[in-house]
Every structure is written in C-alpha cells, then in structure tokens.
C-alpha cells in the first residue's frame, strides 16, 4: 500500500479540528468533570464541597442495590445484544431468499430504526401497560396473569423485547450488506459438492460474516448498556422494586432524582471503566478469530 502524503502541514489539522473539538468538549471534558465530582461530597447546589477521596467508590461498591443493578445490566445487555443479532441475522438470511418484493420487505424491516428510543418505549408501553395497554386486556382474557408493574421478570421481558425490537433494524441492515458481499460462487460450489443449505450457512456464510458480526457485537453491547436508557425510562422507570434498574439508569436516578452527585459520578466512572474493559476484551480476544476478507 502506498502511504498518502499531505504536502500541507496545516490542512490535516484543520480538517481534524471540528472532530477534535467535539471530542474534547463533549467527551473528555465531561469525563474529567465526572472524575473530579466522584471524589467530592457535595450538596445539590454545590454550596458546600468536601474532598472525600475514594469514599464514594467504597460506598457504591458496598451497596447491595449497585450489585443488583450490575446483575440486571448483565442479564439485560446479554439478552438484548444476542437476541437482536440472532433475530436480525435470521431475518436477513430469509429476506435474501425472497424472489419478489425483496426491496419492500427490506424497507419494512429497516423502518423501526427511524423511531427514537423514547418513542419506541412509549409504543411498547401503550401496547403492554396493564392499565391501558391495547394487548394487556386480551392477554388477561387468555388467562395470563400479565402485570409488569408488579412482576419483575415480566417487566424485564418487556424492556428486553422493546430494546431488541428497536435494534433489529440496524443489525439487519449490516447483515444484509454482509450477505451481499459473500461471493455467490462459493455457495454454488458448496451446493455442487452436495452440502445442505444449513451446512453451507454454518461453514461458509457465517464465518465469512464474522467481521460484520464482530462489529455488531461491539455496537450492540454499547447500545444495550447506554442507548436503552430511554426505553427503560419510558416503560418501567427501573421498577418494579429495582428489577429493571440498569447501571446507567441508576446513575441517572441517584444523580438527577436523588441528587447524590458524588455517588452518581463515582458510578459513571466505574461504568466507563467497565465499557473500556469490555471493548478492549472484545478487540483483544474475539477479533483475533475474525478474518477480514
């Protein structure tokens, strides 16, 4: 490969400047603020500030509610990331088989991606709220004791379903693109050799999709950890009890509802460490097994 050489020394920096500015102002600056805040004990208005070192971290890690949120997050994120990817892959493969109206189906599949997270949450709420949900009354009529306002596992199922539904479109888009990049000749050759469709999929298509799958794994993990806040906020508000309170939701609740800034900041710092570690692990161990074409 030939290295691109820019004759101008200033231009590259100028071109980079907007992105650098955005990153510095919206990522590094708040992150530093969070670090600072996590070492302070402060009232809501910032009238009295005391440096407490790592006391906030000790308090957070000793709090059973925090461990509960960690558990909820693991269950929720795994369920959302895995089911959103599995369903999207299944749908992408099925759509490839359609002879007539492929574009129409594809468009319909991608549609939900245009829905904002909070709106997606409201949508599911209007369908499944035990009080006014369109589908709640029929479910009760069928003898199913549907009450996610009190039953933690049902509430968890509901937010997982809503968050998954929202993300399927995105994954679908990438899987369709990934599938189209696989040379038809390989699959035809397999067919000539007498491989069944299923065998061909798992031994040829799936491994060749690995770069896409890996990319989506990283994106979906981050999505499940952070972007699902709107859905949880709209559908369950972290309840019942603390059954759907994820780490991100707890940061919000402790900081902005209960006004415990120091502990909330400590939690967000821990969360940052978790995400950095997770991404590093994914790149270090899983990416090794990914073959880029």
């Amino acid at each position: 490969m030939r290295r691109t050489v820019f004759p101008n020394k200033l231009l590259p920096w100028l071109l980079l400047a907007p992105q650098l500015a955005v990153t510095l102002i919206f990522f590094y600056w708040p992150a530093l603020q969070a670090f600072r805040q996590s070492m302070l004990k402060e009232d809501a208005f910032g009238l009295s500030t005391k440096f407490v070192g790592l006391a906030n971290f000790r308090k957070v890690l000793a709090d059973p509610a925090y461990l509960n949120a960690l558990k909820v997050t693991v269950v929720f994120s795994l369920a959302v990331a895995l089911s959103a990817m599995a369903i999207a892959l299944f749908l992408a493969v099925q759509v490839e088989k359609i002879r007539c109206g492929k574009g129409f189906y594809r468009t319909l599949m991608i549609w939900p991606y245009a829905v904002a997270t909070a709106i997606a949450g409201m949508l599911w709420l209007f369908l499944f709220n035990p009080g006014f949900g369109t589908l709640a009354a029929p479910m009760r009529a069928l003898g199913f004791n549907w009450n996610p306002l009190l039953k933690g596992d049902q509430a968890m199922g509901l937010v997982i379903a809503a968050a998954t539904w929202k993300q399927i479109s995105y994954n679908f888009l990438f899987f369709v693109a990934g599938l189209q990049a696989i040379p038809k000749s390989l699959i035809e050759a397999a067919a000539i050799d007498g491989a069944s469709r299923r065998h061909a999929f798992w031994t040829i298509v799936f491994p060749l999709l690995a770069p896409t799958t890996f990319f989506l794994l990283v994106v979906n993990t981050v999505y499940a950890l952070f972007d699902t806040f709107g859905i949880i906020h709209a559908v369950t508000g972290g309840g019942p009890g603390r059954a759907t309170e994820t780490l991100v939701y707890k940061v919000y609740n402790d900081g902005f509802v209960n006004l415990m800034m120091g502990e909330s900041a400590a939690q967000s710092v821990i969360l940052m460490v978790i995400v950095i570690a997770l991404t590093a692990i994914q790149f270090r161990f899983i990416e090794r097994r990914v073959h880029y074409g």
């Binding site: 009232d43 809501a44 208005f45 009238l47 009080g131 306002l149 508000g237 309840g239 609740n253 209960n258």
Partner: protein, 431 residues
C-alpha cells in the same frame, strides 16, 4: 420626509424603553392547560405595570425543572423565580444561601406579609418552624376520592354517598368486583403521598419524628400498627384482584377513567383529566381509618411552590415582591383556583369563590379545602419533610411493590422501608 425626526426618535427610544423594564425570569413545570394559566398570569401582570416584565419559561417536568434550576445555579445562571414541587421542598430548604425567603422579598418590597390572610394548611408547609414563609405556594392540591356513579349503580351501591372510611371503601370495592360491575374495585395513585404521608396527617399518626421532619431532621416511624393494618388490607385486596396497582405516580388515574376500576383516590388536581374522560363521576373526601383516634384530622398539600433564588439585584427582588403581591390578589387567586383546580392561597380568594356560587356548580372543588382546613393541624398533620424525600418515596415504592406482588407482608414492607429510609436520611443529612 416630514416625520423622519419623530420616526428616528421613536426608533431610538423604543429599545431604551424596553431595556428600562427589569426582566424577571420564572422557570416552571406547567404544561397543557396549566401552562396557559401561567402565561396569562404573567401577561396580565406585565400589562398591569410598567417597571417589570415577568418571563415564564417552561422547563419540563417537575424533576427536570428542579435539575435545570440546580444546574443553572451552579453555573451562576439561576432564574429569578423557580417552581419546585412539594417533594423538592426539603432540598430547597437545605440550600440556605441559594434561596431568599419569600417573606423577606415581600417585606423588602414594602409589603407586609400577614400570615393570617393565608390558608394555614398550605402556608405552614412552606414555612420554617418559626413561621417565616420561604416559598410562595403557587399550585396546591390535596388527595380526594373519586368514584364512578355508573359502576356504583350497577353494583347496587349508594350513588349519592361515597364511602367515608377505608373499611367502607374495601367493602364497596369488593362488592363492585363480586357483582361484576367492574373488573377492579379500587385503585389509587401515589401510594407514598396519599397512603403514607397524607395517611399520617388525616389519621393523626406519626410519619416521622420531629413533627414529621418540619422541626428538624426526621426519623421515620411508619413501621407502626395502624400503617401495618392499612397496608395489609390493601395487600389482601390486591391478592383478591379487588385492588389494582397502577404505578408509582399518577398512572392509576387511567385505570379509573377507562372504567376498569370503580373507586380511585387521587390528587384534587387530577379532576381535569377525570372530567375530560367523560365518565359519570362523583367525588368525596379522602377516606380515613375509623379506628384511628381523632380521624379525620386534616390533609396536607401537594403541588408546587415558587422559590426566589439568592444573589439577584435589589431591583429584581423588588419586582418579584410586586409579582407575588399581584399573585396574592383575590381576582388572580380566584382565576388560578377556578381555572386550574389548584387551591387558593388566601382566605379572601376562597370566600370570594364561595360567594360566587362556584362550589354549588362544581361540587368537589371545595372538598380539598375543607379537608385541609377542617381542624387546626397537629404535629402529625402539617406535612412531611426530609432532605431526601424523593429517595424515601423510591424506597417505599420498591417495598410496597414487593408487598403487592406477595413477596412480603405489609409489616415486613414497612419495616424494610423504615430501616432503609432512616439509613438514607442519615446519609443525606451528612451523618
């Protein structure tokens, strides 16, 4: 161009004239019909005088408005007036140095603040233990009982006499369910505000020590026999499917307006939505426990009040004083009360509304006022206050939800809520 000098002068002077007005920013959380009331009050005040201009700004929900105000204060950009909901009162009171007492603002503006002109149940909640009014009660409400007259008729219940005690409510609710008049007998919004905080006041039992926190940092006392009895009764009804849980705040209103439930306890401020739903409804006072001594005592206000932020110029404070004086005037209070369903703050406005025949035409509108003024408040019935009331409510809701799901008894739920709550209060008050 004969007029040009005059025109030029007019152009030159008009911005000056505008700048001469002192601007007062007012952050609030009133949406929908209540937002129009805010806009109209501000516009009328601005038109009534030349010196000040009140600028209302909608900042989202109550918690969002409070957070926006706090963030703005930290950045040195606080608004002049901020609307803070009832549970944020403790937070604001703890922030001495961030707020200026309304009583001071009024006196400095040349008005005497005469406590006897204001409804004691409301003003008492927004005052310090020594009686200084800290914030201006803008919109106050109190919980009342709503019932569906059609469902009552179908169940064979007395349509004109809603149940008065909790025992009567439970009996009526069971009858509604058993007769098939509706699939659910009773539901309630705000188990915290209505069944925990107002329950204490209305039945004259303690919610916490130190006059429920009004005289100092409280320790919760909700792990007591009367509370345990009340919540166990609700838990039993939930098990039978007679009581249906709607959610932590006002979601249960939907269960009532949709005709799913026959009886509802909700804020008097929820009347608008009940009317809008078009159901054949009636109202009654909040039920009490007939075994409680001295019940019914009096209920306490919810809603929000206006806080004046510290560190503003004398000119601004003078304007805020003028504005609050304007807000206290009888016609303004009457308008606010009759339009929004919130309670009037002054006796004069209450009397004027009564004289106008408004309550005869709108029965139920007077109920929350009568509840609040029925008896002089005791140390259990002036309201509750804690530096971290939102957090305490969260804890209570978590425990109540586990109880309603059958995971624990009422006694266990109250014990856990009290223990966890007291630990949180200790933490929040710097212990």
């Amino acid at each position: 161009m004969r007029y040009s000098p005059i025109l030029i002068a007019a152009f030159a002077l008009s911005p000056l004239a505008a700048e001469a007005k002192t601007e007062i920013t007012w952050w609030h959380a009133m949406s929908g019909a209540n937002n129009e009331v805010v806009e109209k009050i501000a516009a009328d005040f601005n038109a009534s005088q030349e010196e000040y201009e009140v600028k209302p700004v909608f900042k989202g929900t109550y918690p969002e408005t409070l957070n926006a105000g706090i963030a703005a204060f930290r950045a040195g950009q606080a608004p002049d007036i901020m609307q803070v909901f009832d549970v944020g009162t403790g937070v604001m009171m703890a922030a001495q140095g961030a707020v200026k007492p309304v009583a001071d603002v009024l006196t400095e503006a040349g008005y005497t603040f005469d406590k006897s002109q204001y409804l004691p149940g409301i003003v008492g909640y927004y005052s310090t233990p020594d009686g200084t009014m800290l914030s201006f009660p803008y919109n106050s409400s109190s919980p009342i009982l709503y019932y569906n007259k059609d469902i009552f008729q179908k169940a064979g219940l007395d349509v004109d006499n809603p149940p008065k005690t909790w025992a009567e409510v439970w009996a009526a609710a069971r009858k509604i369910k058993e007769s098939g008049a509706a699939e659910c007998g009773y539901t309630s919004t705000w188990l915290t505000w209505i069944h925990t905080e107002n329950f204490a006041a209305w039945n004259n039992v303690a919610w916490g020590t130190n006059e429920n926190g009004l005289a100092g940092t409280p320790e919760l006392q909700i792990d007591s026999p009367l509370y345990a009895k009340h919540f166990q009764e609700i838990a039993d009804l939930a098990k039978e499917g007679v009581f249906v849980y709607g959610g932590r705040t006002s979601e249960a209103k939907q269960n009532f307006t949709s005709g799913q439930c026959g009886i509802l306890t909700e804020s008097s401020g929820g009347l608008g939505d009940v009317i809008k739903s078009g159901i054949n409804y009636g109202t009654g006072q909040l039920p009490y426990d007939e075994t409680a001594e001295g019940a019914p005592q009096n209920t306490t206000p919810g809603g929000a009040s206006l806080w004046v932020m510290a560190g503003k110029s004398d000119e601004v404070y003078k304007g805020v004083g003028e504005f609050f004086n304007y807000l206290s005037q009888t016609p303004v209070q009457e308008y606010l009360h009759q339009q929004s369903g919130y309670l009037p703050v002054t006796f004069a406005a209450y009397e004027a509304t009564k004289a106008s025949g408004f309550y005869d035409k709108n029965p139920g509108r007077e109920t929350p006022i009568l509840q609040m003024m029925g008896k002089p408040p005791t140390e259990n019935s002036k309201g509750v206050r804690a530096p971290n009331l939102p957090q305490l409510r969260d804890i209570q809701n978590e425990e109540y939800e586990k109880m309603l799901d059958g995971q624990q008894t009422a006694a266990e739920a109250l014990k856990n809520a009290q223990e966890r709550g007291n630990a949180a209060i200790k933490e929040a008050s710097g212990g």
